[in-house]
């Protein structure tokens, strides 16, 4: 259940990346993968630290607090993809200017 909520949260946050310029590595789909992966991974890490075990929260363990664990992860994932996209863009510009 926790996984479902994290994916939902990641997907929800990803929808707002449409307001950002498309500099994501892999475009909007890259941002999607970043948001979902980040939401799940960071959700797992935070929950893992909380319960001292690597596990997905079940139905009874999923509350609003657990759902919110996905937010930093989704943002980190999106930011990472964005920064990588910018880095690649700069590298491309630099390569083409040196030619």
């Amino acid at each position: 259940m926790g996984l479902l909520a994290w994916v939902m949260m990641g997907l929800a946050i990803w929808h707002f990346t449409i307001f950002l310029p498309d500099r994501f590595w892999g475009g909007i789909v890259g941002a999607f993968i970043g948001a979902i992966t980040g939401a799940i991974v960071v959700g797992l890490i935070i929950y893992g630290v909380k319960v001292s075990a690597f596990q997905v929260p079940g139905e009874s363990a999923t509350d609003i607090g657990v759902v919110l664990y996905a937010i930093p992860g989704a943002l980190i994932g999106i930011a990472a993809v964005y920064l990588e996209g910018m880095r690649r863009e700069r590298a491309l510009v630099a390569r083409s200017s040196t030619r």
Partner: protein, 998 residues
């Protein structure tokens, strides 16, 4: 073959099939499922025994035996089928006693005959005959009686001391298993003991893991210990305790056990012609018993063994002691419990008992139990152990009500779809309605012919396919209208409309069919009915909605009814939608993001309301003859020993007004029977009096719930994979990703809505979710199909302009198909009764979300992604350079909307002009391109911006030289993935100095 002949032939085939269908409908009976006619459904999970593993062969053998037993019960039209890898689904229509059905059908009925004394194990681990006081171990004259047995805990410990004795027919040793302890091996039997209070918590189980299956939790305070009893040793329960005077059984299952060396001499397979009879021989008690004969092998073994027993008795005879003390015994064990332990009178049978006249089993039988045993022996023992994991019972009245509700919902759905088609498409609509009626006749005939067992989910599938059949017509009709409005004649418009709409319909229907197939392969039996009707219906629509209606329209093409565009609803040349779909997409993304955010929080805060299908438990729904209150029912439940039961009052027409829902932990059919009897006693005049009415129950074990959840997840993942592969093949892999994102969006929004509304998630919801997958895709494919078609037609437009144009062209079509599907779904929601309402709700949310996401999620994602491609980036850069921004639609310099297919193109020259590739997506050759330019008369037109501003130069080589970095692709570059690669590309002369193309 000319079109006319072809149409006539198709119409003749259609008419012939209608006649055949009517004949089938008139002569064959409709097979109704349990939920529509009432009855008992039992789902068993197979487990291995010492003699057999669970595989296809043993399951099929078990099904054959179960079928024989059901036949003996006299049940009409039973359905016994395999479900998944290890489950057997038994549907018994018109049976009202689930407990009796369980006893009759699923009992293993493994019968073994033992020579008693040399096989009972004593405290030293040796057989009783080698122990100091054998009679205290075997029971002496009271052999097998409960007085001499051990408590189960002690019996297990005694048995566990024995070494393994493997016999030839012992198949429990799995390949790779060794006698050393291996928890995953099937080797002997496993027990979980509580050493603190010396009880057996669980067992026997085939593997150690099974002891903890279904999240079994050891009771708090217990000291668990796992013990294995090696192969070759078994525990048998003592005979049922009987009242000495009356002979009635006072304790069927005493805690008294014997440890046996598992060296049986005969099995149930050696018995023939078992019959329920009465003990009426000399000195007979007149009590019910079971008489039987032996097979040839059985006869000789029986005689030899009884002779050996007689000799042993003779040897044990001590002077001055009665012969009863010395007599030895023969034990009959049925499903792990001693049934009888007759002694062999060595004075009467010194040479053993001649088995040619048969034998008998007697003791503690009632007529019913004796009949039951005789039946079980007659049909044979099940080769595997069957564990009841789910059972449900539906009253006939409830079933009838559900059927009526389903039929009403179907009829209303059909009527509103027809009305919509007639209002929106006039003559075309009338033909579509004709197609729908033919579809209905064919489908009903198929249901009877195959035969398909109609269940409530099946009816839902049928109603949904009405929408799908109408959708196919809408897709084509919109295309026909488009072609006619574009300047084609009615006849040509019809032909082109069908031709161009067909690919989209095939794609969409193939995807729906694949979803239905996956659902059928992986889902539980209840959902299979839905999947089957959906799959068959989808295939059938291709015939009725495409072939039949095309032939009908073709045949009518010269009649006055269709020669005027107004008759087809194509008189007005609509300007189409001019909305900037891509520009507004950010706001729709925000809307979706917000809905998902709320949904995610709702899942955290409220969770999902999983039904017992997933959580396991027993749910009883009943009404009462006389008015009772919730607290009275709760008290009655408490008095019956179910104090933890949850009682809820509800009002439902199908149950006859006010009803009560009682939820408890998972109960066996006998438990449900006890509750019904208790309620009848409390609110009627006795256990069998009609205190309750419309009593129905569903019991789901934890294993079944887990299976349902797993199969749902597998089905969803499999559907997504198959769908992605199909889209990638038919379109381009980049088209598959937005589709997946849109599907995810739809599923998660539906989950969020379920959480917000608190609706129960059942197996029907899972079926609805999978249908949403298929349907959402239907819509997206319609949109993407047009994008695919427009890409080569707009060689200088930005991708967002192509998508905007495509949207404006197909939005009406998309809205019409969604509306048309929603109509029958709405009918289901309003008239379909409780079960179908839940299903319809999920479908309604999903279909609405699917239509929305295909336009506002999938297409913008595709646009954003495709615009990163070099060619489209260049186009966009060029348009911005020229205009300062990218207009929503490709426009001319005069600001007019640039037509994809300009007016001039309709006027074909005698030599036949070319305006676009004949087949959308197909590459055009260089010569064709030149021809296209001539036809467009680009030079003579005002310079258009964004689409056709520059006239292509005469020589292709010059294009290459004049290209700037933001130049567009040449038509040769605009090749969709499914188009063949150009083969006739001329090799350019190479610059000899640099070796590069000039």
């Amino acid at each position: 073959m000319t079109d006319r002949r072809r149409n006539t032939l198709i119409l003749l085939i259609v008419a012939g099939l209608i006649a055949a269908s009517v004949a089938v409908i008139a002569t064959k009976k409709t097979r109704l499922g349990l939920d529509l006619k009432g009855g008992v459904q039992l789902v068993y999970q197979a487990k291995p025994t010492a003699q057999s593993k669970v595989d296809a062969e043993s399951l099929n053998r078990a099904i054959d035996i179960m079928r024989k037993r059901v036949d003996q019960l006299g049940v009409a039209q039973p359905e016994i089928q395999r479900s998944g890898a290890d489950e057997i689904d038994v549907a018994l229509p018109d049976v009202s006693d689930a407990g009796q059905a369980e006893n009759e059908v699923g009992k293993t009925a493994q019968l073994f005959f033992y020579d008693w004394e040399p096989n009972v194990i004593g405290p030293g681990g040796k057989v009783a005959t080698q122990e100091p006081q054998p009679q205290s171990i075997t029971g002496g004259a009271q052999a097998g009686g409960s007085v001499f047995g051990l408590p189960e805990y002690e019996a297990v410990l005694r048995a566990a001391k024995r070494p393994a004795i493997l016999r030839k027919n012992d198949t429990t040793l799995e390949p790779g298993c060794t006698p050393e302890q291996k928890s995953e091996c099937i080797y002997g039997s496993w027990y979980l003991l509580n050493t603190k209070n010396k009880t057996v918590l669980k067992g026997p189980e085939e593997t150690q893991q099974n002891l903890y299956a279904n999240n079994y939790k050891v009771p708090v305070g217990a000291t668990p210990k796992v013990v294995r009893v090696n192969p070759g040793t078994v525990l048998v329960q003592a005979r049922p305790v009987e009242n000495e005077k009356t002979g009635k059984v006072t304790n069927q299952s005493p805690n008294s056990w014997f440890v046996l060396n598992d060296n049986y001499v005969l099995t149930g397979a050696d018995v023939k012609n078992p019959t329920q009879s009465f003990d009426e021989g000399g000195g007979g008690t007149g009590a019910p018993n079971v008489t039987f004969g032996f097979t040839g092998h059985g006869q000789s073994v029986f005689q030899n063994v009884t002779k050996e027993i007689a000799h042993r008795g003779q040897e044990a005879q001590l002077p001055g002691v009665g012969k009863e003390a010395a007599q030895q015994h023969f034990a009959v064990v049925l499903d792990g419990q001693l049934i009888t332990t007759p002694s062999i009178d060595y004075t009467k049978y010194p040479e053993g008992i001649d088995a040619s006249t048969g034998s008998q089993i007697s003791g503690g039988f009632t007529i019913t139990s004796a009949q039951s045993l005789a039946n079980e022996l007659q049909s044979g023992a099940l080769p595997i152990k069957l564990e009841l994991i789910s059972n449900s019972q539906v009253s006939a009245t409830l079933g009838k009500t559900a059927l009526n509700q389903g039929l009403i919902a179907g009829l209303v759905g059909f009527a509103v779809v027809c009305l919509f088609l007639l209002l929106f498409y006039r003559v075309l609509g009338a033909i579509a309605v004709g197609g729908l009626i033919i579809y209905g006749i064919y489908f009903f005939a198929l249901i009877k012919l195959i035969p398909i067992t109609m269940t409530l989910p099946g009816i839902a599938g049928l109603i949904l396919t009405i929408g799908i059949a109408a959708d196919a017509n809408i897709v084509i009709f919109e295309r026909v209208k488009e072609e006619i409005r574009g300047g084609r004649s009615v006849i040509s418009g019809i032909a082109t409309g069908y031709k161009r709409g067909f690919a989209a319909i095939v794609d969409a229907n193939v995807v729906t069919f694949m979803t239905a197939f996956i659902l059928f392969a992986l889902a539980t039996a209840e959902v299979k009915g839905f999947a089957f009707t959906l799959g068959i219906g989808t295939l059938l629509t291709l015939f009725t909605a495409v072939l039949a209606t095309q032939a009908a329209l073709g045949a009518m093409s010269r009649s006055k009814a269709v020669t005027h565009p107004a008759a087809l609803g194509a008189a007005r040349r609509g300007g189409g939608w001019t909305f900037d779909f891509m520009g507004a997409s950010k706001w729709f993304f925000s809307l979706s993001g917000t809905i998902l955010l709320v949904g995610a929080l709702a899942i955290g805060g409220r969770g999902l309301n999983f039904g017992i299908d997933f959580k396991s438990g027993t749910r009883i729904q009943t009404a009462f003859i006389k008015p009772v209150s919730e607290s009275e029912v709760a008290k009655a439940m408490s008095a019956a020993g179910y104090g933890n039961a949850e009682v809820q009052k509800f009002v439902n027409k199908s149950i006859g007004g006010t009803g009560f829902q009682i939820s408890t932990k998972t109960l066996k059919p006998t438990g449900v029977k006890d509750i019904k009897a208790a309620l009848n006693t409390k609110f009627g005049n006795g256990p069998n009096s009609p205190g309750t009415k419309n009593f129905s129950s569903t019991s789901i074990g934890p294993t079944f719930g887990k299976t349902v959840a797993n199969s749902a997840v597998i089905a969803i993942i499999a559907s997504l994979l198959v769908i992605s592969a199909y889209i990638a093949l038919r379109f381009e892999w980049k088209y598959a990703v937005p589709v997946l994102i849109a599907l995810m969006h739809d599923l998660l929004i539906t989950a969020g809505v379920y959480s917000l509304t608190g609706r129960e998630v059942t197996t029907a919801t899972v079926a609805a979710l999978l249908t949403i997958l298929g349907y959402s895709l239907y819509d997206t494919i319609i949109v993407f199909d047009r994008v695919r078609e427009n890409v080569p037609r707009m060689p200088r437009a930005a991708f967002s302009q192509i998508v905007n144009r495509s949207m404006s062209e197909v939005l009406t079509r998309s809205l019409a198909t969604s509306f048309c599907t929603l109509l029958p779904v709405l009918a289901l929601l309003l008239f379909g009764g409780e079960t179908l309402k839940d299903f319809a709700f999920a479908l309604m949310v999903g279909v609405a979300s699917g239509a929305y996401s295909s336009v506002f999620i999938a297409s913008p994602v595709l646009t954003h992604w495709k615009e990163r491609e070099g060619s489209y980036r260049n186009r966009r850069a060029r348009i911005i350079r020229e205009l300062g921004s990218v207009p929503a639609y490709a426009t001319t310099a005069a600001g007019e909307k640039e037509d994809v297919e300009p007016q001039q193109k309709r006027k074909r020259s005698r030599r036949g002009s070319l305006m676009a590739p004949e087949e959308p997506g197909e590459q055009i050759s260089r010569d064709e391109f030149q021809e296209l330019v001539r036809d467009l008369d680009v030079e003579g037109r005002p310079s258009s911006v964004g689409v056709a501003q520059k006239a292509p130069p005469e020589e292709p080589e010059e294009i290459e030289e004049q290209r700037d970095p933001a130049a567009d692709l040449t038509p040769e570059d605009l090749v969709m993935k499914d188009a063949p690669k150009p083969r006739d590309k001329r090799k350019r002369p190479r610059n000899k100095r640099h070796g590069r193309a000039r």
